[in-house]
Subunit: 660 residues, 2 copies
C-alpha cells in the first residue's frame, strides 16, 4: 500500500477539496474528528446487535448529535454535514428530508408560525405518511381519506380498508410525534379532489402514547438487514379529527365553509419530490465512492496467482478482469458527485423562480431528475455489488462493509418513484420534445434544453447521418456518439408509438439520460483546467473519458443497431477499437487508482471496513474483528450439550450397531 | 388469485412430477408434511433472532432431522431430500457435500474402514478446510504445510503465517469435530509437492474442547445476513501431528519411509469439485424457482394504475415492464432444473468410467461444469434481485422472503471457483478446441463434444456465413444463431490471442456456455411430446423458446458485431423483430404464469413469504407478520425516556427561547 501511495501522481488533498468544496471539506474534517472519537458513534459492535438494539443505538446517536449541536453551536449546514457523516440510515433523516421541507414549502403561514421553530429544533419529531399497504408510486390511488366537516371546521382522517394502512413510513413505528399524512380530500359535497397533505399529531407529548383512534406499529425487518435501525412503521386512522388549520394549504386549500381553492399551478407541489430525487445524484455518487475505495484498496493489497520479478504474487487489481470492473466504478463516483453539485445549483435557481411563481424550469428539472434518479440508483446498486464481488470470498464478510452499503442503498431503486415507472416519464418527455422539434417543428433547435439537446442531431444539417469519424481518446467525439444514439433511439420509439416492444422504455430512458450525463461530462472535461488544473486535470480527463467509453460500451446494442459505428468491414469486430480504448484507459489509470480513491477523503471510521483500511493491513484487521464475534465468547458452544452431543452419541451408537 | 388459477391450461401436478421426477416428488410431499408440522422447523421467529440464536436453531433442526431419520427409518436418499427441504444453509451441509464425499472418494480403504460408518451416521461431524485468509480459488498457493516425519510416521500440520489461517470453513467455528485439511505436502527431502488432503481431529469427542495446538473460532457475520446460521470458522495449526494413515491417499500417497507416490492421473481428484459444481445447476434452478413463484404470485395479486372494465386497477403483472422481467426468470428456472437432471446423469456416467480408470469424460465435464457454474450462479443471483425489485417497496420487506434468498445465494458467484477465474478456464478449453478443429484440423467435426459442437459452424460447408433466415418462433433457428455467435466470438478471441481486450473472456465464456445450454434446450424442445406431452408440452415449448430468445437478446452486441442478423436495412432497427417475438411469447405465457409457478410445487411453509402465499392474501399476511416484530411488544419504546424525551425537551426549550 505504501508503494502504491508512493507511485501515484495526483494530490489526494487537492481532489478532496475539488470534490467536497473547500468549505464543506474543512467542516467535515472538523466534525469527523469530534464524532469518530465519541464512543456513542463507535461502530465495533453494530454487526452483532439485534434490530431493537440497533434502533436504540440510532436514537442514542441522534440524541448525542443534538447535544453536540448545542454544545458546539453548529449551524444548520454543519448539523446537516454531521448527520451525513453517519453511515447508516437513522429514523430522524425523514424528519429533515421530508417532514420539515414539506411543511416549510406547503404549510400555510399560520401553521409554519406555530410549528416551524419546534420542528427546526426537534421539539416535535415528524414523519411523512404517503405510501400505503396497497399503493406506492401511484399516489393518485391512495385510499386514506380526509373529509372536511364544515360544522366543526375539522378534517376527519380515516383509513377505510386494510390496504389503506400507511406502511413503510420512516420513524413512524416508534419515534415520531407528528406526521404529514397524504389523504384524498373529500369535500362536504362528497366530491373527491384527490390526495392532499394534512398535519396530524400521532403521539402524546406527555408520555409518547399513541393518540386515540390511531393504530401504529413497526412493519418489521427489512431485506438483507437494510435500514435495520429505522422504525419504518404503519398507521391506521379511525375517524381521527384535526382542525381546519392543519391542512397544508400553501397551494390548494379549503375555505372554512368547505369550498375548494385550486392551486395556482398543478405541479407547484412537486418541489419536495424533485429536491429528494436531485439530492440522490451526489449521495449515490458518494455511496459508490465508498464501495470503490474499499474494493480498490483491497485489490491493491490482495495478491493471487502468478509470481512477478519481486517473487510476490500479482496484485489482484492488475488483472484485466478486476480493473475492468473497478475503474469504471471509480469513474461513476467522480461523475455523479460533480454532477450532483451542478444539479443542486440548478435546483436552487428553480426554487427561486418557483417562489416568484415562475414554473418555466419545472418541466426540465422534472425530466432531468427522473432520468438521473433511475440512472444513479441503478448504477450505484450495481456498482456496490460489482465492488463486493470483486473482493471474492472476503467480500461476503460483513466486516468488508460493502454488503451493508448495498442493503441500505438498494431500496433507492424503488423509493421516490419506482425506476421502471420513472422510465416511462422520461420517455414521455422525450417523445414530447421529439414531436415538437422534429415532427411538427413547432420548436427550433435553439429552444432545446440541456435534457433534449441530443435531438439537434436529427434536425441540424451539419450533423449528417454519414459515417462519423470516431476518436475514442476524444471525449467530445464520444459525447456526440452517445447523443446520436439517444436521438436514434427516441426516433425509433416514436416510429412504433402504438406497438412498442416490452423493454424499449427502459432502453430509451437510459439512452436519453446517458446522453444528458455525457454532455455534462463533456463540459466537465472542458473546464478541468479551470476547476482543478495540474496533473489532476490530466488524470481526471482520462477518468471522465473512461466513463464515456464504458457508457458507450453499455449502449453498444443501440449503437450497432443504428449503424453509428459506421459500415462494418467483413470479418472484423467493429467494437474492438472501443474495447481496446477502455483497456488502455484502465491501464493508464491503474497507478492512480489509490490516489483517486484517497481523493474521496474517507477516514477509517467512516468506511468501517476491514478490507478498506487506509494502511492496507486487511488480514490483521479481519482477524481482529472476528475475535469480537459473540459466538467466540466461549470455547464450547452452549449448543453442544443440547444438540451436538446427542447427535454424536446417536451417530456413534448407530455406527457401532451397523458394524456388528 | 382464484381467477388466475381458473384460467391457466397447464396441469400443475403434472409439471411437478415432470420437474421433480415421480419418486422424488412423492418423497418430498411426504417429508414436507412431517417437517412443516414440527414446531422445531417453524419459521415465524427467525427474522428476529441474533446469529447465535440462529446458529442454535440450526443445530436444533439438524438434531431433530437425525431423530426423525431414525424414527421414520429414512433412507440416505430420503435424508438428503429432508435436508434439502430446509430453506437455509445449515452447518452440517458441508459434512454431507464436501467432508463425506472427499473421504469416500480419496480416502484409503483403511481410513474409510475406520471412519466411514461414523461419518455416515454423524458419530463425528466434519468440515473441509481449504480456503485460507490469503488464498481462495488459487489453491496452488495455499500456505498451510503438512511435513512428513518418517521417524514417527507422522505428518506435522502447520500454519506458518497469519494468511495461512484456514478461513470461511463451514461448520468449523463451533460444530465440527474433525476436518479434512488441504495443506502443501513437504517430503523429508524438503521437496514441496503441493496441496494434498489430510484427515485431522479438531475437537475432543469427550467434551468438544479444541485439541492442543489448534486455534479455532467463528469468522463473524456475513454480508446482508447471509449464511447467518452457519459457523464459518477459522483455524490455525501449531505443529500439530497426525498419523501417517490420515493422509487421504486414495490417489497420491507417501510411503512410510517418505517416498512420494504419484497419482495415476493428475486430475483424478477433481471429481468432488465437479460434483459440487454440477449440482449447482439444478439447485440454482430451484432457487430461481422460489423467487419466481413469490414475485409472480405477488404481481398477479397486486393492482396498480389504470382501472379496467371491472373497475379494478390493472394487475401489475400485465404491465410489459413487469412481465418482461419476470417471465424470463421463470424460464431460467425450468431450463436449469431440467439441465441439472441431465448433468447428474452425465456425472454418474463419468464417475463410473473414472472408477475404471477411464478419464476420457473428465475434460468435457470440467469445461461444461465450469461454464455452467458461472452462468447459473450469475443468472440466479441476478434473477433473485430482479424478482425482488419487481415487487417494488414490499420486495424490500424481510417478510417477502426474496432478500433472504439473495443473501444466502450470492456467495455462489465466488465459492467453488470465482466466476471470473472460471471464465478463463472456459476460454482456455474453447481455444484448445478451436485450435484442434479449426486451425490445425487435427480433430474432425465428428469428434466435437457437446460443449464444442458450436464450432461446426466454422468448418461445416453446409453452414455458410451468408444471411441466415431467422425464424424467431422456431427454437432450432435460435439455437443455431446462438451457436454461430459462440463460434464467431471464439474465432475473434483466437485472432487477438496476445492483445485481448479486458472483458473479452467474460463474453467468450458466456457465448460458449449460452450455446451449450441452447443446444440442450433445443433437445428438450424436441423431446417434449415424449417427456411431458399434452398442453404442458405446448406451453413449455413457448417457455423454452422465451429462454432462447432472451438469451439471444442478451447476446445482441456479439450478434450484431458479427453481422449474424443479416444485412441491416437503412433506418430500421434490426433487433425489433426479436424483441417483438419476446413480447408476443410473454403475452402468450402470461395466462399460464401462475400455473407454471404452481408447477414447482412449493408449499407456503417452504416459501415462507408473505407476498408469495398460495391463496394470494398478501396484505393480510404482511400485516399479521408485522405484529410479531419485537419493537411492537410495548406501545412506548424503551428508548423514549432515555433518548426521545430528552431530544423533545431540548427542542421545546430551544424553540421557546428563539421565540423570545
Amino acid at each position: 500500500m505504501a508503494q502504491a501511495r508512493a507511485s501515484f501522481s495526483v494530490d489526494a488533498l487537492k481532489l478532496q477539496v475539488f470534490l467536497w468544496g473547500e468549505r464543506e471539506w474543512q467542516v467535515r474534517q472538523r466534525i469527523e474528528s469530534v464524532l469518530s472519537k465519541d464512543p456513542i458513534f463507535d461502530k465495533a459492535s453494530r454487526s452483532f446487535l439485534t434490530r431493537s438494539e440497533l434502533y436504540h443505538r440510532a436514537l442514542a446517536m441522534t440524541n448525542r448529535l443534538h447535544e453536540l449541536l448545542e454544545l458546539h453551536n453548529w449551524s444548520a449546514e454543519e448539523a446537516s454535514i454531521a448527520f451525513r457523516l453517519i453511515d447508516e440510515p437513522l429514523p430522524m433523516q425523514l424528519h429533515m428530508a421530508a417532514f420539515e421541507p414539506v411543511i416549510r414549502t406547503q404549510g400555510a403561514p399560520e401553521l409554519r408560525q406555530k410549528f416551524g421553530e419546534l420542528i427546526a429544533q426537534r421539539g416535535i419529531l415528524g414523519c411523512y405518511l404517503q405510501t400505503e399497504l396497497g399503493h406506492g408510486t401511484n399516489v393518485a390511488s391512495l385510499e386514506t381519506t380526509a373529509t372536511y366537516i364544515p360544522e366543526t371546521r375539522e378534517f376527519e382522517i380515516h383509513s377505510p380498508t386494510l390496504t389503506s394502512s400507511k406502511w413503510w413510513i420512516g420513524a413512524l413505528g416508534k419515534t415520531a410525534t407528528h406526521g404529514v399524512v397524504q389523504a384524498r380530500l373529500i369535500l362536504p359535497s362528497g366530491k373527491d379532489v384527490g390526495p392532499h397533505l394534512f398535519f396530524v399529531q400521532l403521539r402524546s407529548l406527555e408520555d409518547h402514547k399513541v393518540l386515540p383512534g390511531i393504530t401504529i406499529g413497526d412493519i418489521g425487518p427489512k431485506a438483507m438487514g437494510g435500514y435495520n435501525a429505522v422504525d419504518n412503521g404503519y398507521a391506521r386512522f379511525d375517524h381521527v379529527r384535526i382542525p381546519h388549520e392543519q391542512m397544508l394549504s400553501g397551494f390548494a386549500s379549503v375555505t372554512p365553509d368547505g369550498q375548494y381553492v385550486q392551486p395556482p399551478h398543478a405541479k407547484l407541489s412537486y418541489g419536495g419530490m424533485l429536491y429528494i430525487r436531485s439530492s440522490m445524484v451526489s449521495s449515490g455518487g458518494w455511496t459508490i465512492a465508498r464501495g470503490a475505495t474499499i474494493a480498490i484498496r483491497y485489490a491493491t493489497v490482495r495478491r493471487q496467482g502468478n509470481r512477478g520479478a519481486d517473487g510476490l504474487e500479482r496484485q489482484v487489481i492488475t488483472y484485466p478482469s478486476v480493473y475492468y470492473r473497478l475503474l469504471p466504478v471509480l469513474a461513476h463516483a467522480y461523475v455523479f458527485v460533480v454532477l450532483g453539485h451542478n444539479l443542486t445549483k440548478a435546483f436552487g435557481e428553480m426554487t427561486t423562480r418557483l417562489a416568484a411563481g415562475d414554473t418555466s424550469l419545472l418541466a426540465e428539472m422534472h425530466a432531468t431528475t427522473s432520468g438521473l434518479k433511475v440512472l444513479v440508483s441503478t448504477t450505484a446498486a450495481q456498482d456496490l455489488e460489482t465492488a463486493r464481488r470483486s473482493m471474492g470470498g472476503h467480500g461476503f464478510s460483513d466486516f468488508a462493509g460493502v454488503g451493508r452499503l448495498y442493503a441500505d442503498y438498494v431500496p433507492a431503486a424503488t423509493y421516490e418513484g419506482d425506476n421502471f415507472v420513472l422510465d416511462q416519464q422520461v420517455v414521455r418527455a422525450a417523445l414530447k420534445a421529439f414531436d415538437a422539434v422534429v415532427t411538427k417543428k413547432t420548436r427550433g433547435v435553439h429552444e432545446l434544453t440541456p435534457s433534449t439537446a441530443y435531438l439537434r442531431h436529427l434536425v441540424s444539417s451539419k450533423s449528417s447521418p454519414s459515417t462519423p469519424s470516431l476518436k475514442w481518446h476524444d471525449p467530445q467525439s464520444v459525447v456526440s456518439l452517445l447523443e446520436k444514439r439517444a436521438a436514434a433511439t427516441v426516433q425509433e420509439r416514436a416510429k412504433h408509438l402504438h406497438d412498442p416492444d416490452a423493454s424499449v422504455d427502459q432502453r430509451v430512458s437510459r439512452a436519453v439520460t446517458d446522453a444528458f450525463v455525457a454532455a455534462q461530462v463533456g463540459d466537465f472535461v472542458k473546464s478541468l483546467e479551470e476547476t482543478v488544473g495540474g496533473k489532476e486535470a490530466v488524470v481526471l480527463r482520462k477518468l471522465y473519458n473512461l466513463h464515456l467509453l464504458t457508457t458507450a460500451e453499455s449502449g453498444l446494442v443501440d449503437i450497432l443497431s443504428f449503424g453509428l459505428l459506421g459500415p462494418t468491414t467483413q470479418g472484423s469486430d467493429p467494437t474492438r477499437d472501443l474495447r481496446l480504448a477502455i483497456k488502455r484507459h484502465c491501464e493508464e489509470l491503474l497507478p492512480e487508482s489509490i490516489g483517486l480513491s484517497d481523493g474521496f477523503g474517507f477516514s477509517d471510521w467512516e468506511l468501517d471496513s476491514a478490507l478498506g483500511v487506509y494502511d492496507g493491513n486487511v488480514y490483521e484487521s479481519l482477524w481482529k474483528r472476528a475475535q469480537s464475534e459473540p459466538l467466540n465468547a466461549s470455547e464450547v458452544t452452549e449448543g453442544y450439550k443440547k444438540y451436538i452431543k446427542p447427535m454424536l452419541e446417536r451417530g456413534q451408537r448407530l455406527a457401532a450397531r451397523s458394524k456388528l
